[in-house]
Amino acid sequence: MSELRYREALNAALAEELARDERVVLMGEDIGVFGGSFKVTEGLLERFGERRVRDTPISENTIVGMGVGGAMTGLRPVVELMTINFSLLAFDQIVNHAAHIRYMFGGHVSVPLTIRMPQGAGHQLGPTHSHCLEAMFLHVPGLLVAVPATAADAKGLLKSAIRDENPVIFIEHESLYGVRGVVPEDPETLVPFGQARICREGTDVTIVGVSRMALTCERAAARLAREHEVQAEVIDPRTLRPLDLDTILDSVRKTNRCVVVEEGWPHGGVGANLAALIAEHAFDDLDAPVARVSGADVPMPYSKPLEDIAYPHEPQVMDAALATLGQTAGAA
């Protein structure tokens, strides 16, 4: 075990998988000479060479499409999109091609492609540079979607993603890159998809936190316990496709209350989907409607005080949890 930053854990995963499998090839803008705009790929070009770590021009749709074609014919490409914002340029290749090729060609080919991208707001980058779009990818059959919140999960899930035969949307978070965590050193330690992590056990309310929000929810739960004697059970789903719904349902059956916390927009979001699933499967176990805490339904503003209230922080999570218990915080 060692303590690594989230970005270092990703770097380790990439290095290990590059060393393990000759077919793994990295492609992305500024991942080589520059070391990656968030330094995730630092040192990899020097170690593995420009055949395997390729700087590309700014051509997101085509970079992803080349990953698709390469994956169909023997490679294991890992494409980096500098941020999730630019994935919008690549949606045709992601949805119509990466996600659909196996099915539409009758199962005669697979697309073992991993597409990595960070998301998130909080650095005043404004509307076109602050998206959280996991719900858009969750929507698409044919994709796998990972949203790791810890360094250990980032490493373990990225290794699983690269080794899997399906196309994976691997969503990192800009604000998590510097967060440290204990990370297994064993290169064969993988984290499976479809297995949620219970961050904190509790009996009063279930809080599901997506990506960075898992950490926000852990902090909120600590405050709920300290300040309100509410014991929240915090769940980090780690992957949205496949989703470990069973762990969430087991928790809801125990606590009878649920709050889903995400940074993305509310309508058609992860919480909207999860609330429907929980209502379908555990209606009789609910003592309150499933609550959603989400990013504000606006393009992300630049000005600091506006940005601060446009995505969730601990007080909003606490308020929502207490509301399901018929209480108020009076603090937020």
Binding site: M104, L277, H281
Partner: protein
Amino acid sequence: MTASLPEPEIAREWLASMTLIRRFEERAGEMYARAKIGGFLHLSIGEEATIVGSARALREQDYLISTYRSHGNAIARGTPPERVMAELFGRVGGCCGGHGGSMHMFDYERRFMGGYGIVGGNLPIGAGIGLASDYLGRDEVTLCAFGDGASNQGTFGETLNLAALWRLPVLFMVVNNQFGMGTSIERHSAVTDLQRKGESLGVPGTSCDGMDVLDTHRVVSETLQRVREERRPLLVEAITYRFRGHSMADPEEYRTKEEVAHWRERDPIPQFGALLEAEGMLDDAGRERIEREAQERVERAVAFAEESPFPAPESLYEDVYVLEGQVHGRYHQ
């Protein structure tokens, strides 16, 4: 410069392949009118010389990737017409099990990599296949076919630039049938001499007479040779024409009957047949046999398609994912 004819057997095979594609496409049109085929149907009637001339320039290990107008590409590459017709009928015996339909044909075994409904969508994928060949140290090349309309899609510029930058072994073939759906080339492309369109991106081009299977074969063969030896992308513009509409749903109000009739005078199949006759490579009996065999093959294809069952409802969720890795089965979400 005219190309020399290949050996008689080969030349007759080219004629037979073009004839088979023509008869297949005509029959598919009839089946569509009878509602045996649904959705969109894009026929390549008139483009047979481009299809066969380019396919015959490829070696077995080379890859071919095309557009939504690709029944002919699949058949020329060797996919049994039965499998193509069954796919059009949406049956289990189709090359994609009925999941893809007309626009999404595929035959991995014969290195026909699809079949794509999105205009320009296949270009990056073609370049990715070239990347794999190059990366894995294999000498195969990829022929990536697309239309004049696709030369305006963003992927054209992005892909040619990247292919040139990384010296990918891809031949980009612009099948210029003079129209992007209902918009003529003069109305959709500022530069109509499409062989030049990739120059500024690093991909020089030549053109060929896409109504002449001999010329198409010669130019594509020479270009493939260069791609193979120099390990870099090149472009070929095949100048051709589709005698039918963009799809079966097209009333063709954007062009005159005179224009179509003018191009029909250059129908690639009678044109090549006449050349073979003149060279003593084809007699009446031979011509009749080619015609009869094409008809019979197409009938067998229709019969096969009719008898092939529809996919069972239970199969709806098959092949969305590769199972037994991170996905273990159909899950409730």
